[in-house]
């Protein structure tokens, strides 16, 4: 699953739709595992030729010129924009693990994907079982990804949307109900069913609205973080220990292959999405800024105007203050079926043509128009506001799962948790750096998970005894 980082460049029209990634949802039972967000792919779209602001009439000559202007506008704000949500998610997971014992208890229940138990007599048997579990899990993931890619390729959008809808429904209602129940049990809070029902109902409905339709950005971000944390907690509870570590390792390898290999399913997904200029599916990507959608210039009869019905990027109708980021001009991305003209009747189009002359949109003219500076408020000093960063929810889930497992399993040691946390964040930094350099879809899992795993095992086995001895004698280094 391509849990990857995407960078949106808000001030230029980019054909950088980020497709949805693996999304599986298994109904029923405690074995539900809904991979809410296999993540988007990291894309840079096209580097903004901000030089166009100075020579507006020139047509883009091509990538060569763009390369010559190293206009990499990545500020510290980008990294902060991702650090904060990832940290929050991890904090929620670790806090829950440390306080609510439900998620660390071994009830003997397992997911249907990991049928082999790990409480066996010999180590060899345990190893074998965990390898088998991991194999089954990864095969399921691969199959689901293929199904998703096929569905996407054959434009079965309704099926995918329905699937996403069901899984977020499950997460927002069922899992959060269980979570709340366990928290109440831990803190011995008495709660009546009616209040609980009202709370869960409101939480769930607002969550569905925010994620799948429109809502304030912060609320949407908060909900995405919460569902990632819930999913990570489910994994931590139901995956036995060795299986969990193996799955983390194998999934980062799979992520790498799926996104970078030419025939990788996720690469196919990204390329198909780019060809069609389509946006991400909702509920799979965490986005740090508001993405505005503005109707572009008239593009003629044959082309569908860019009204988007189902937008995950909560478009705000008007800026609240002059300091609001300039609107994004995205490529045409109709999710609605072709027969729907989105309100632009043939009458209106005809009138436009009459007034402005026949307009035929070609690749060239469209790109030229995209390069034009649109009428927007003057660029502020702080250009970083224009850019947003995106990270797939799958990344959140697996990062939090690693840190949660570290805090659950590492004999209560906080140093291990801290070390994994720092390692994952540094991996994320490196991934963003590579994104800036290579400017194409990149997986966000491999580097972070690799660092996380190395530091987990190293800290747990090497650093912990050393620090324990130091603390015993109160030596300071």
């Amino acid at each position: 699953m391509a849990n990857t980082v995407e960078d949106i460049e808000n001030n230029m029209a980019t054909e950088a739709p980020v497709p949805s990634q693996n999304q599986h949802s298994e109904p029923g039972g405690t074995g539900v595992r809904s991979r809410g967000g296999g993540g988007g792919t990291a894309q840079n779209g096209q580097p903004p030729s901000t030089a166009s602001q100075q020579r507006p009439a020139q047509v883009v000559e091509g990538d060569e010129d763009e390369d010559e202007e190293l206009t990499l506008k990545y500020g510290a704000k980008h990294v902060i924009m991702l650090f904060v949500p990832v940290t929050l998610c991890m904090v929620v997971v670790v806090a829950t693990i440390k306080s609510v014992s439900f998620y660390t208890q071994n009830d003997g229940q397992r997911l249907i994907y990991t049928p082999f138990p790990e409480d066996t007599d010999t180590l060899g048997e345990r190893a074998l079982n965990s390898v088998l579990n991991a194999t089954i899990m990864i095969s399921v993931i691969i199959v689901m990804t293929m199904v998703l890619v096929l569905l996407y390729k054959y434009r079965c959008y309704r099926v995918i949307l329905g699937w996403l809808f069901l899984s977020s429904l499950l997460l927002l209602f069922f899992f959060s109900f269980i979570y709340l129940k366990e928290v109440f049990k831990t803190y011995n809070v008495a709660m009546d069913w009616i209040t609980l029902a009202v709370i869960i109902w409101n939480f769930g409905v607002v969550g569905m609205v925010c994620i799948h339709w429109k809502g304030p950005l912060r609320l949407q971000q908060a909900y995405l973080i919460m569902i990632s944390a819930l999913m990570a907690l489910v994994f931590i509870k139901y995956l036995p220990e060795w299986t969990a570590w193996l799955i983390l390792a194998v999934i980062s390898v799979y992520d790498l292959l799926a996104v970078l290999c030419p025939k990788g399913p996720l690469r196919i997904l990204v390329e198909t999405a780019q060809e069609r200029n389509e946006p991400i599916f909702p509920a799979l990507i965490y986005s740090s800024t508001m993405v505005w959608l503005v109707n572009m210039a008239d593009t003629g009869l044959g082309h569908r105007p860019h009204t988007r019905k189902n937008s995950a990027e909560t478009p705000v109708t008007e800026p609240e203050s002059p300091a609001a980021p300039p609107p994004v001009v995205l490529g045409p991305a109709p999710l609605s079926p072709p027969e729907d003209d989105g309100g632009f009747t043939t009458n209106w189009v005809g009138q436009q043509e009459h007034q402005l002359g026949p307009l035929q949109s070609t690749e060239e003219s469209r790109r030229e128009i995209q390069q034009l500076p649109s009428a927007r408020p003057p660029v502020m000093d702080d250009d970083d506001e224009e850019r947003g960063v995106k990270l797939g929810l799958g990344d959140f889930i697996f990062y939090s799962m690693l840190v949660g497992k570290a805090s659950a399993a590492a004999s209560g040691d906080w140093n291990t948790t801290l070390a994994c946390f720092v390692a994952i964040l540094i991996g994320l930094c490196l991934t963003l750096l590579l994104l800036a350099i290579f400017k194409k879809a990149l997986p966000a899992l491999p580097i972070s998970i690799f660092f996380g795993l190395v530091f987990y095992f190293a800290t747990d086995n090497l650093v912990r005894p050393f620090m324990d001895q130091l603390a015993l004698h109160q030596f300071y280094i």
């Binding site: 901000t50 030089a51 390369d67 010559e68 202007e69 190293l70 206009t71 990499l72 506008k73 990545y74 500020g75 510290a76 704000k77 980008h78 990294v79 902060i80 650090f83 000093d381 250009d383 209560g412 040691d413 906080w414 140093n415 801290l418 070390a419 720092v422 390692a423 964040l425 540094i426 930094c429 490196l430 963003l432 750096l433 994104l435 800036a436 350099i437 290579f438 530091f455 190293a458 800290t459 086995n461 090497l462 650093v463 005894p465 050393f466 620090m467 001895q469 130091l470 603390a471 004698h473 109160q474 030596f475 300071y476 280094i477």
Partner: protein, 272 residues
Amino acid sequence: MRVLSCSDADMYEQCSVSPFAIGFSTVASPPRRKDSIKVMHPPTSNTTTFNWAFFWLCSLLLSSLVWFITVQISNKDSSSQQKGLLIFGVVLSVLLQETFRFGYYKLLKKANEGLLMLSSEETMPISIQQLAYVSGLGFGFMSGAFSVVNILADSVGPGTIGIHGDSQHYFLSSAFMTMAIILLHMFWGVVFFDACEKQLWWSLAVVVSSHLLVSCLTFQNPQYVGSLVPTYIIMFLMGLWAFVCAGGSLRNLKFCLTCKDKDFLLAHHRPR
């Protein structure tokens, strides 16, 4: 086009040069026309505090690896030998920390120079003093966290301090010591970078030896008087030294405290 500017004093969001970023950018996409390169912020600025924390962690990892190996091959029953090995581990750890600090400093310098070469800017994207401060902060944060977080976690749970005859002041002394260490790391960072910039190797030696001294003083614990008091004296002295290295003086201090420093105010004035 926005020219690189570092007027923001917000240290943590300061665009900080990641060495790999600059190195890679020079290698991966060589400029064709030098004058056309307008590097805005350095490519993927990272929050340097985390980078430094990561390097501190790496140094700790290496030293614990060495210690672990020595313990495995030693006599596990002899407690004096174990204590000796632990002392060796502490000294090694201190030396490795300073080595990593120096190593990362060199890397960042190279990266900064590379960036300057590429861009048409005259000044560095981040001043060396800010880098020094952030380095000290990163090291101090990680060191303090590793020292104290387990103790904090244990302090919540049920228990009695020193029930087996150990000192009653365990938590208190740990807290004070940790604070001293964090502040010391910050001061050491500033002095260290200043010494490296001005090639004052004796300053460098003093920093390293004061770090060693502070760690060795803790060998006296639980006689806290012998360890805490000198540590705090050293901390104040290092603080003064760092203040002077960073360009501070009584005059600056006075202006700062009375909010009369016009240069500072002008530089940080944000137009509405």
